[in-house]
């Protein structure tokens, strides 16, 4: 954004080589020349802003491994990591291949479930924001 404004200003200033700029041209150019500084201001810390820590989010980290779809997800199954949170210790439940039936709001009977219909429950301690956290989470 800033670069585009600067280029615009340069073209306005030097585009008409050999012609004397009018007073109107100079005023327009000056106004545009201020834009880069104006847009930069919100990025500066406000003097009224309270000091804060910057240790990162307290949200859990995903497990590093990727599945075949490029997701941080592990299929439930023998010898597979059951949780979805990394740097974790605690209770875990993992289950999949749910099947059952149900009814929609038009009275249609619709089955649910597939081998990938899975749930995971994680309750305990995990590491985030540079310290230990407590939480309970569910993978749906």
């Amino acid at each position: 954004m800033k670069e585009a404004n600067s280029i615009g200003v340069l073209r306005r200033l030097f585009g008409n080589v050999g012609l004397s700029p009018t007073r109107r041209d100079i005023l327009k150019s000056s106004a545009f020349a201020l834009l880069p500084f104006a847009t930069a201001l919100p990025n500066q810390p406000s003097p009224n802003q309270q000091p804060m820590t910057a240790n990162g989010s307290t949200d859990p980290y995903p497990i590093p491994w990727l599945d075949k779809f490029g997701s941080h997800n592990q299929a439930a199954g023998l010898n597979n990591e059951p949780g979805h949170i990394y740097h974790f210790k605690g209770r875990v439940v993992r289950c999949n291949s749910f099947t059952g039936m149900g009814t929609d709001n038009k009275g249609n009977r619709i089955a649910f479930g597939a081998p990938s219909t899975d749930y995971g429950v994680m309750q305990g301690e995990y590491w985030a924001a540079r310290t230990s956290q407590q939480g309970t989470f569910v993978h749906i």
């Binding site: 949200d59 210790k89 289950c95 569910v138 993978h139």
Partner: protein, 138 residues
């Protein structure tokens, strides 16, 4: 493993961190029996998306709500999974789990409710303790 006749797929969005389809559980929604051998997780109006074409990268997610009750019970059969190269260890038992759920997609006027809990089944379930990452070696 997405069935060809799948018409809805409800799950939370993937978090910006990459955390996959995981949401916090409200206080009191998860209860374990005293001996830890059974549990119930019941959540209401969880914000999810309906994304039938997942895992296609351009699959659209339609805002939806989901309520569910998941119950499980240990069978007592011990299980241990460990992979030192991936820094995880799970120690627990096989289990059986059942699920009942209802979903609503307001924008398309669709809702669906499963039959009672007792009529569902899962082919695979385990419950126990896991340690991974920085806690694995400690």
């Amino acid at each position: 493993m997405v069935p060809a006749n799948e018409i809805h797929d409800f799950h939370p969005p993937i978090a910006p961190s990459g955390l996959f389809w995981v949401v916090p559980v409200p206080e009191g929604a998860l209860t374990f029996s005293e001996d830890g051998s059974s549990f119930t997780l019941e959540m209401r109006n969880v914000t999810v998306i309906d994304q039938p074409r997942f895992p296609a990268l351009d699959s659209i997610g339609t805002p939806a709500r989901m309520s569910f009750k998941l119950v499980g019970k240990s069978t007592g059969e011990p299980v241990k999974y460990e992979d030192a190269s991936k820094h995880f260890r799970f120690t627990g038992n096989r289990a059986s789990c059942k699920l009942e759920a209802q979903v609503e997609v307001p924008s398309i006027g669709f809702s669906w409710k499963s039959d009672p809990l007792s009529t569902s089944k899962s082919d695979f379930a385990i419950m126990g303790e896991e340690i991974n990452g920085r806690y694995y070696d400690s």
